[in-house]
Amino acid sequence: MVELFFQQLINGLSLGALYALIAVGYTVVYGIVQLINFAHGEIFMIGAFGAFVTWMLLGRPTDWSVATSLLVLLPLMIIGGMVASVATAVATERFAYRPLRNAPRLAPLISAIGVSVFLQEFVRLFFGTIPFVGRIPGWPDAKSAVPFPSIPGISGQTIQLGGVLIQMPAIFTLGALAVSTVFLWYFVNRTKTGRAMVATSQDPDTARLMGINVDRVIVAAFAVGAALAAVAGVAHGLRYGNIDFRMGFLAGLKAFTAAVLGGIGNINGAVVGGLVLGLAEAMATTFIPGQFGSSAWKDVWAFVLLILVLVFRPQGLLGAKVVDRA
C-alpha cells in the first residue's frame, strides 16, 4: 500500500508537471489581458509537432549515442518546438485577439474557439504537405496519431527506486518543470520585460503611462506561455510515445483547470495547481474504491475538483481575492 502510494505520487507529480507547464501559459495571458486563451492547448500540440518536424529535418536520427541525444538532439527538438509554438501564438495574438482588445469579453473568447478549431484542422489537413502541391514523400500524415521519436536514454528507460518504478520521461517532465520554473522566476523578477509584464497585469493603464509598451508585453506573455507549452509538448510525446492533432483539447482543459486551481493570474499558483491536479488524478484512480475508481473516471474527478474549487475557494489555492474587473 505504501509502495503503491509512492508510485502514484511519482506518476501524479510527473503528470502534474505536464499540466503545470501548459497552465503557466493560461495564467500569464489571463493575468495581463483577462482572456482565456482557449487555443493554448493547440499551441501545446503545435509545439509537439514542431519538435517532431525538427527531428525529421535532422534526418530522423535513431542511432545517436545517449550523450549526443540528450545534449544535442533533445535541446534542438525543444527549440524547434518552441519556434513553432511561439510563432503560432504570436500570430494568433496579432490576427485574432489584438483587433478585439476593446470588444466585449465574449468576442475574443469566441474567436479563441475559432482559432482552436482552425489550428487543429490545419495540422490534421496540412501536416506533411505543401499546400496546393501535394504530400512530402516520407512524411507521416497527421490524420491519425503520429509516433513520436524515441530519444535514447529517455524513451522506455526506467529507474527502480525501492519498490517504485520511475519512467525516465517522467523524470524529464519534472526536470523540465524545475528548469522552466527557475527561468520563469528569473524572467519575471529580474528582466525588464518580465517586470513590465507584472506591472501591466497589475494596472495596464498606469503601466502605459510609465512608458511600458503594453502591446509588446502582451506579445511577450503569449510567447512565454507558448515556449513552456512547447516543452510540455515534447514531454507529452516522450511520455505517451505519440502525438496527434487532438491532444491539445483535453490537455488544455486540464491545464486550465490547474491554473484555476492554483489561482488564475498567479504564476506560482499555476505550478502548484498543476502538481495538485496531477496528484489528485493519480490518487483518485488508486484510492477511490469500486467502479468509480477505474481509470475511465479520472477526467471526471479532475473536473469535479475544478467545480469544487470554484464553490469553496474561487480565488484558487494561492490566489488573492478575485476582483471582478468587468
Binding site: I36, I113, G114
Partner: protein, 576 residues
C-alpha cells in the same frame, strides 16, 4: 462601396459609363440563351442554346436588375413617383453588376472543375464573363448615390403585408429549389446569385423599408412565416431526402434558440450546451419503449418530454449554482468541463465502469417512433394528394416546439425578467447596484435554457432512432454557439438563419466536407473580427460592438425614431 475614382471624373463619365454598363448587362442577358459549356454534365446542364436551364433563368434576374437600375434614371425617375428619389440607383447598379460578375466567376470555375479545364466553357460562358466584366467595370465609374431613405416612405398597410407575404413566398421557393439541387457547383452559383440579390436589395434601401414594414406588421410576419414553414413539406412531393435535412435543421435551430437565451440575452457563455441536449435525449431514450432501455418505466411521450426537460434543467442548476457566482469566464470553462463530464459519464455507465444505465459507447438503439394518440410518426400520410412521410411528421413537430420556444423567448425578452437579463449582459455590477437579483436571474436563464435543450433532445432521440455518447461532443456545442454568433446573438430570426446556414451548407457541399471544420474555425475568427453582431443584428448589440462608430449610432437612432417615434426599441412594458 466608395472607390478611389475622383467624383468630378465620375460625373463627367456618367453617360458613357451607363451605356457601357447597359451593353454589358444585355450581353449577359443574351448569354443566358447561348450554351455556357460544351458538355452537359456541369451545373445541372447549361449546355443548350435557346433554352436556358433553371439556374440560368435565376441568374437572369441579376442582369435584368442591372438594366432596370441603369435604364430607369435615363428614362426619368420622376414618372415613378416620389419614392424613386429615396433609393440608391447607381450604387445598387454597381453592387448588382459586381455580384453578377461574382456569380459568373463561380459558375465558370464550377464548369472548369466539373468538366476538367477552362476549354469546356462555350461561347455563352465567355459572353457572360465579358458582359459581367464590362458592366462591373463601367458601373464603378458611376457617381455614388446618397444613402437610401426608402425606409421613411409611408406606404399603405396592404402594400406592406403584400410585400412580406411575397418575400416569404420567395424564401420558400428558393429554399425548395436550393434543397432540390444535386450539383454542388450549381448550389454555389445559386447561393452567389442569392447573396448578390440580397446585397443589392439592401443597397437599394428595400431592407430598411421591409424592416419597418415587418415591425409594423409583426403578427402578420410571424403568422405567415409559420404558414410558409408549415407548407414546406408540400413542395417536396413526398421526397424524404430534403425533409430529413429540413427536420435536422429544425432540431438544430431549436437547440440554438435555447442557447440564444443563455448567450444572447444574458451573455453567459455556455460551452457545454450540447450536454443538456444529450441529457434530454438519453432520458427520453431510457424512458422509451426501446428494447435496450435499462429501466422498466415507459410513460407516454408527453410525460417523457417534461421529465427530459426537468432532468436537463436540474443538471443546469447543479452546474450553474456554484459557477454563476464567479466571473463569467469561469462559466465558459466549467460548462466545457461539464460537457466532458457528461460525455465520459455516459460512456462509463455501461455496467463495467459503473452501473448500467446507458449501455456505454453503444448507447441506446432501436428507439421507436413517436405515437401521439394513435398518430404514428413512422407512417406516411397522404394530405392533398401529396405524401407526407416520417421526416415531415417530425418536421412539423419541431415546428411546434420552435414556435413555443419563440413565444417564450419574445415574451421573456419584453418582460421584467428579460430586461434584467439584458442589464446583466450589459453590465453586471451596475445591474446589481440597481437592484436586479443577478444570481437568481442568471440561474433561471441557465436552467431555462437547459430545459429547452432537454425538450429538443427528447424529440431528437426519437428522430435519430438511437442515442450514443459520441453524438454529444464539444464540437457540437461549438457549432451551436457558431449558429448563435453567426446569425446574431439575441435575435430569433438571426439564429434561425445561422442554424440553417450551418446545417444546410455541409449537406450541399459534400465534396468540401474535409475542409468543413477548417472553414468553420476561420469563419468564427473572421466573424468576430468584422461583423461580431452577426448577420441579423440586434440594434442594441450592434451599438455595443461598434461603440466608437458615431455615424452608425446616429443612423440607428434615426431609424429607431423613424419607426417607433421614440428611442426605446421595445414597445411593450412600462417605461422607467
Amino acid at each position: 462601396m466608395r472607390t478611389v475614382i475622383p467624383d468630378e471624373l465620375k460625373i463627367q463619365l456618367r453617360y458613357p459609363a451607363r451605356a457601357v454598363g447597359l451593353v454589358g448587362a444585355v450581353a449577359m442577358i443574351i448569354s443566358v440563351f447561348l450554351p455556357w459549356s460544351y458538355g452537359h454534365g456541369a451545373l445541372d446542364d447549361v449546355g443548350f442554346s435557346g433554352s436556358p436551364s433553371p439556374l440560368q433563368l435565376v441568374f437572369l434576374t441579376l442582369p435584368v436588375l442591372v438594366v432596370v437600375l441603369l435604364g430607369v434614371p435615363l428614362v426619368g425617375k420622376a414618372k415613378l413617383g416620389r419614392w424613386a428619389k429615396t433609393v440608391a440607383w447607381n450604387t445598387t447598379a454597381k453592387t448588382t453588376a459586381i455580384a453578377s460578375l461574382g456569380a459568373v466567376v463561380v459558375a465558370m470555375a464550377a464548369i472548369a472543375i466539373e468538366l476538367g479545364g477552362l476549354v469546356n466553357i462555350e461561347v455563352g460562358g465567355w459572353v457572360a464573363v465579358a458582359g459581367a466584366v464590362l458592366s462591373a467595370v463601367a458601373t464603378i465609374f458611376l457617381p455614388d448615390s446618397p444613402e437610401p431613405t426608402l425606409s421613411r416612405v409611408k406606404t399603405a398597410r396592404w402594400v406592406q403585408i403584400l410585400a412580406i407575404v411575397l418575400v416569404l413566398a420567395v424564401v420558400l421557393f428558393s429554399a425548395a429549389y436550393a434543397l432540390g439541387m444535386s450539383d454542388a457547383g450549381a448550389f454555389l452559383v445559386f447561393a452567389a446569385i442569392l447573396t448578390g440579390l440580397v446585397l443589392a436589395l439592401r443597397q437599394f434601401g428595400v431592407f430598411g423599408w421591409l424592416g419597418n414594414a415587418s415591425a409594423n406588421n409583426n403578427r402578420v410576419l410571424v403568422v405567415s412565416a409559420f404558414a410558409v414553414a408549415f407548407a414546406f413539406p408540400f413542395t417536396q412531393n413526398g421526397s424524404n431526402a430534403n425533409m430529413s435535412i429540413a427536420s435536422q435543421v429544425l432540431i438544430f435551430a431549436a437547440t440554438a434558440l435555447g442557447l440564444n437565451i443563455v448567450v444572447g440575452l444574458v451573455g453567459l457563455l455556455d460551452l457545454g450546451y450540447i450536454a443538456f441536449l444529450g441529457a434530454g435525449a438519453f432520458t427520453a431514450a431510457i424512458l422509451s419503449e426501446s428494447a435496450f432501455s435499462t429501466v422498466n418505466f415507459h410513460p407516454p411521450f408527453i410525460v417523457t418530454v417534461l421529465i427530459s426537460g426537468t432532468v436537463a434543467s436540474i443538471l443546469g442548476l447543479i452546474i450553474g449554482a456554484p459557477t454563476l457566482r464567479v466571473s463569467g469566464d469561469y462559466l465558459a470553462i466549467v460548462t466545457l468541463a461539464f460537457g466532458e463530464i457528461f460525455r465520459i459519464t455516459m460512456n462509463n455507465l455501461d455496467g463495467t465502469d459503473g452501473p448500467n444505465v446507458t449501455n456505454g459507447s453503444d448507447g441506446i438503439p432501436g428507439i421507436p417512433d413517436l405515437n401521439f394518440f394513435g398518430f404514428d410518426f413512422a407512417q406516411p400520410h397522404v394530405i392533398a394528394g401529396i405524401e407526407i412521410g416520417r421526416f415531415a411528421n417530425y418536421y412539423w413537430l419541431m415546428l411546434v416546439v420552435i414556435a413555443l420556444i419563440i413565444v417564450v423567448f419574445t415574451n421573456m425578452n419584453h418582460s421584467r425578467i428579460g430586461r434584467g437579463w439584458v442589464a446583466i449582459r450589459e453590465d453586471e455590477l451596475a445591474a446589481e447596484a440597481m437592484g436586479v437579483n443577478t444570481f437568481t436571474l442568471k440561474l433561471l436563464a441557465f436552467a431555462g435554457g437547459a430545459f429547452l435543450a432537454g425538450v429538443a433532445g427528447s424529440v431528437k432521440a426519437h428522430y435519430d432512432v438511437s442515442v450514443t455518447p459520441d453524438q454529444y461532443v464539444f464540437l457540437e456545442s461549438a457549432f451551436l454557439l457558431a449558429a448563435v454568433v453567426l446569425g446574431g446573438m439575441g435575435t430569433v430570426g438571426g439564429v434561425l438563419i445561422g442554424a440553417t446556414i450551418l446545417k444546410l451548407l455541409p449537406e450541399k457541399l459534400r465534396f468540401f466536407s474535409d475542409y468543413r471544420l477548417l472553414l468553420f474555425g476561420l469563419l468564427m475568427i473572421l466573424m468576430m473580427r468584422f461583423r461580431p453582431e452577426g448577420i441579423v443584428a440586434d440594434e442594441r448589440r450592434q451599438l455595443e460592438f461598434h461603440d466608437e462608430d458615431e455615424e452608425l449610432a446616429d443612423e440607428i437612432e434615426e431609424e429607431l425614431i423613424a419607426h417607433h417615434g421614440h428611442l426605446n426599441p421595445e414597445r411593450k412594458g412600462f417605461e422607467l
